[in-house]
Assembly symmetry: C2
Homo-oligomer: 462 residues x 2
């Protein structure tokens, strides 16, 4: 195994120039949602290609129907070295409301918070320019010390992440052979806390459904028909109320097929994190965990499936009152999936359940709003173990393997289209104010982030 | 008892001139909702005062903050004769869309439908100018034959019924002593069918409530919080689903206090009317009665209380999908009341029920949308019996005593403010197209309506 110390030393020595490069990138106004900044997006892609080329990558700007991709390749030290795909995005959110920024969002600066923390201010410093540059600068330090990289690296930077990534799937499809690696690192997430790095190993999947119940063929007067005519809001309320039993479990037939218990050691590690119902729910004004009884809030949000009603509407919802029995009522319902739950089966089971609750003279229409299975990296996979060890060596506290309650489409796409697992490693902090005025990235995140990637690269090759 | 035959004969002889007077009234464009027709409303009131004065009433136009009232008094044949308040309204609905009218809405005409029916066409012919003129012309015939009226009559015509009657309550309050009678006749309803007159003896009351459930202090991402955070739509769905038990009864504590069974003879008479679940619900595309099991649709809509959700909203209800757990969800709920149900108690019981279903960290806010008790005329009251007999004498089929599922505010106001029961008798038919283009009133409704009131007046004095 290569000695990592000189690489870390070089990363430390490079820090000022690494920061200057990050500043250059932040100064480019690559707001992907606003067509006025289209040239800036290209400029950012070109800047990245030039920067990667300087440290030995074969890099190119790749046109799409939208903003361009950056693809870069670097050989590993050995022919049989592992092959890593690194993903990040160079586009940033708009800066409105601009008057709330204390500094020009596109004039990055170091700011001393006075509590021992220094931060880099500016739009994109955390999401995602600062994060992706930790990897680029780690490669630079490695290359400068050893003349090569320990593993084969492919880089994919997109410029439409903040715009829903419309070009990503077609690009992955068209370039699958070029982009396929042993596994992907996605650097767009955060630390557990400022001393504790985190690797997300599970992401819940999602099934979205919209159901519309129709009763009478028109809205009815509740005086004339109330008590005799079916009320679709009542039917919908019963259907939705019946989705959970009194223990909080989802009642759909076969819903828990493919759901496994989280290993005891993982659950035990989560219990040390200090995020209990009081702290987790207290932040949003709540205190009583809903959902399945007898499980921690981290387990409920990371490792258990759910059924949630995301929206409901029916009848008269304006000011005042209208004594109407509506013809229709509808709800948007989503299911968060874990483990091996099958989105298609969950959808079918939901629809069958709804139909089973319908009076004979009412109908239900369904509208599909996406479906993707959960992502579950094996908790004992070697790459996870190596990355965890490398991160634990760098930071004051050992890395934790966490789950993510939501889905990140790119991870599903890598899985589905390139047959490749992803590790989510990033160094953002909860107070980075991404998408908001005064976005920042801790200098410590940037510096130790670079060192972390250097350690991970070395560990992967070992 | 006075002989009614000569009065009926006189009504028959008068028919052409009665019609001409109706035409005069219909020609006045007394649209109360459109300020452009304010002078026309006054003109209609003045026309009525003149017409009533011509047949011996002491009549006057009475100013209000809106359109004027018409109040008229006529002594009875005897000092101790019963005192009747007759209510109608001279204002009419707008005529849009005017292009759908086959005749000028303010140029009334007799039209032969070719199936043996002749109708008077024009705005207000049925709602309510034709109806109120049946009473005026009955008084005329009586007066012309006998030189007086058999009972003491007070007439109240308002000009804002189609605009929500804003001046009515203040007017009743200010003139309670003058307007109080033994009972009121409200002539703004219809026949059961073209051969069967109807008297509405019960009107359901109404309690309107809006409830808003608040869970978290902001909208939450369903990925991050789903499974752990309370979802107010779920809570609301459970609350609403729990309002009825499996037999369709409302579950609120004390809800059925004051609800009595409809007398067997009344229920039996309803069963002869031929309106069963198939015919009643079939008109609106339904077939299965909801609500309390084992009761006919007429009983359910006329004589049983209900709980109906009139509107519901929460979370994301726009196009597409949003994986949000809403902070709030709300519903508008109404209760139709019968018998002696107490609106205040029902409201309290609902609120207590909602609160009992709330998780400890969620709250409910309530907003009151009106409350009025049911109107229930005793099925064996003498005035009801007399009116029923008089109507049955006039029409091919016996009069039926029916209920009305909805409330008619004027009836509640007469009850509450003047301590006076109301009988609802009218001669409209379901195909009169009130509020729509091509409104009409059957010539038979007008002619036999006049004769009906003559018979009722005589019966009341007997």
């Amino acid at each position: 195994m290569t000695d990592i110390s000189p690489v870390l030393t070089r990363a430390d020595e490079n820090l000022d120039s690494s920061l200057e490069r990050l500043f250059e990138l932040v100064r480019i106004k690559s707001i992907s949602t606003d067509p006025a900044y289209k040239p800036d997006c290209r400029k950012a892609a070109e800047w990245l290609v030039a920067t990667l080329s300087n440290i030995g990558f074969t890099a190119s700007v790749r046109d799409t129907a939208g903003h361009p991709m950056v693809v870069a390749h670097h050989a590993g030290a050995a022919e049989d070295a592992p092959h890593v795909l690194f993903y990040g995005h160079y586009d940033v959110q708009p800066v409105d409301p601009i008057e709330l920024w204390e500094n020009d969002p596109f004039a990055p600066a170091i700011k001393d918070l006075g509590d021992g923390r220094k931060v880099v201010t500016g739009r994109g410093t955390s999401d995602d320019k600062g994060q992706l540059m930790t990897f680029v600068e780690a490669c630079r330090a490695y290359k400068e010390v050893h003349g090569n990289l320990p593993v084969r690296v492919t880089i994919l930077f997109e410029g439409e992440e903040e715009s829903g990534s419309p070009s990503l799937k077609p690009f992955l499809e068209a370039n699958a052979a070029e982009l396929k690696a042993d596994y992907a690192f996605v650097c767009d997430t955060g630390m557990w806390d400022s001393d504790t790095p985190a690797i997300a190993a599970t992401l819940r999947g999602l099934v979205g459904e919209e159901v519309t119940i129709t009763a009478a063929d028109r809205d009815l007067h509740s005086g004339l028909f109330g008590g005799a005519a079916a009320n679709p809001i009542h039917i919908l309320a019963e259907i939705l109320a019946g989705l959970h039993d009194e223990t909080g479990r989802v009642t759909l037939e076969g819903f828990y097929d493919g759901v496994e218990e989280t290993p005891a050691n993982i659950k035990a590690s989560w219990e040390t994190l200090g995020r209990d119902a009081t702290s987790f729910l207290g932040e949003v004004g709540l205190s009583v965990p809903s959902g399945e009884k007898g499980r921690s809030v981290l387990e409920l949000t990371w490792a258990r499936p759910t059924a949630e009603v995301n929206g409901i509407t029916g009848g008269y919802t304006g000011e005042g009152f209208k004594t109407v029995i509506a013809a229709k009522a509808s709800a948007k319902v989503s299911f968060r999936l874990v483990g091996q739950q099958d989105p298609a089966k969950i959808r079918d089971s939901f629809r069958a359940y709804v139909r089973s609750k319908l009076p004979a003279d009412c109908t239900a229409e369904f509208h599909e709003h996406g479906g993707s299975p959960a992502i579950q990296l094996s908790y004992d996979s070697p790459v996870l173990t190596k990355a965890k060890g490398a991160l634990s060596d760098e930071w004051p506290k050992a890395a934790v393997v966490i789950g993510m309650g939501g889905s990140i489409p790119i991870v599903g796409d890598f899985q589905k289209m390139l047959g490749m697992d992803s590790l989510l490693v990033g160094f953002g902090l909860v107070d980075d104010r991404i998408h908001s005025p005064n976005e920042k990235y801790d200098l410590k995140s940037f510096h130790k982030g670079i060192r972390s990637w250097a350690r991970i690269l070395a560990a992967l090759a070992a």
